[in-house]
Symmetry: C2
DNA sequence: AGGAAAACCGTACCGCGAGTACAGTTTCGG
DNA sequence: CCGAAACTGTACTCGCGGTACGGTTTTCCT
């Protein structure tokens, strides 16, 4: 990694934390460059404007999350051949990772951008839409695999179930941040896990 | 309603739409007053600063939502004496209302504030936390009523279930806005409805 | 009707942050 | 050691939040 690239990464990291805490519109370049020990000229050498910064931040964020999901679901499949069990394991892993974040989840950049849409150009908004759709498609694949083996107890649209994954995580992040209680995120993920388990588990009376 | 109060309402309405679309930090007072046909002096006559505006916006938003929930859950209870059925009816009503919003849900002000927390004073942040807790408590009461009659199929913490309500709505609003597809919100509410139904329905084999 | 208070308007100003322009300087890699 | 990459420094424009304050209209109450 060249020196320039390292600086870019440093800027992006600082900017992301600031944007998640205060919003994009309220994040000043002056403050970012102060923390990065850089001059304004230095900043604009790397990013032509604030929108370029947003694009790179988003690209970085999506990439990181994609890798995380890849890891988690790969591990789930490694640990069980059964698609339902594999998914339940993955969800547990996800919950653990979220619980282990030192000061809670810093926030979802897509949600942050969503609430400031008019600030960004079309390209950024298309990137957010695309990444959400990608995640939905990923989960849809998982649920289709499960449903092929275990018919759902209630009639359920697998698309909606796939969407629910992102919805719950995003919603729970907001609640965790608002109430300043990081554990809520973990608990909501585990609750969704219960739901999936209940939905696809073979129909039988509970052991007494 | 006096004339001053009407102006205040007009300002709040315009500001809310702008904040939900662009974020608080990026919403300029100049633009708000232009749309409200008001001068800067007029604005500062009503609100001492931007934080006072935020406080009033939030108060208004919470009040509106509280009334909506009151209505919906009252109607549910009117239409069925059974707590589970009443809740399922209320959720259906909620889904319908969300689906009928002409251009989709405009956004959750609490989520918007959450992603710009550092912009607001302690009072505003405490108001958001308090209102979320109130909603959670409301739903907890509902689920306790249901669980008293129908023991849940899976061991579930009713607090988590109550939290899930707000999480899903908030998350689904974000997805709806990001994908520009208002129907997702409705569908997620109905999916949660299926979950509750499945969780508390008496254990029996499905009719063949 | 009249008068006081409420609800504004106009103007002038300050400071901060985004962004531009551009010339000069350091640092790194081949 | 040379050229490109990675910056620094300075100086400027413009829009926005916010202040100050005097003047004007509108409303409401007696």
């Amino acid at each position: 990694m060249g020196k320039g690239e390292a600086t870019r990464e440093r800027i992006l990291e600082i900017a992301e934390a600031a944007v998640l805490a205060k919003g994009f519109g309220a994040t000043s370049i002056d403050e970012v460059i102060a923390e990065a020990s850089l001059t304004k000229s230095g900043f604009f050498y790397h990013f032509r404007d604030k929108n370029a910064l947003a694009r790179e931040m988003l690209r970085r964020y999506v990439e990181t999350n994609d890798r995380l999901f890849d890891d988690i679901f790969d591990r789930g499949r490694q640990l069980s051949d059964d698609p339902l069990q594999a998914f339940l394991i993955s969800l547990k892993l996800l919950a653990e990772i979220m619980a282990d974040l030192p000061s809670g989840h810093p926030g979802c950049l897509i949600a942050s951008i969503c609430y400031q849409e008019r600030l960004f150009d079309r390209e950024v908004r298309e990137m957010t839409a695309r990444s959400v759709q990608d995640w939905n498609a990923r989960f849809l694949g998982v649920f289709e695999g499960i449903a092929a083996v275990y018919p759902p107890r209630e009639p359920v649209d697998l698309h909606d179930l796939a969407d629910a994954m992102s919805c719950i995580v995003d919603g729970a992040i907001i609640m965790s941040k608002t109430l300043n209680d990081p554990r809520r995120l973990e608990r909501q993920i585990l609750l969704f896990r219960s739901f999936v388990k209940l939905m696809f588990s073979p129909n039988q009376s509970p052991a007494a």
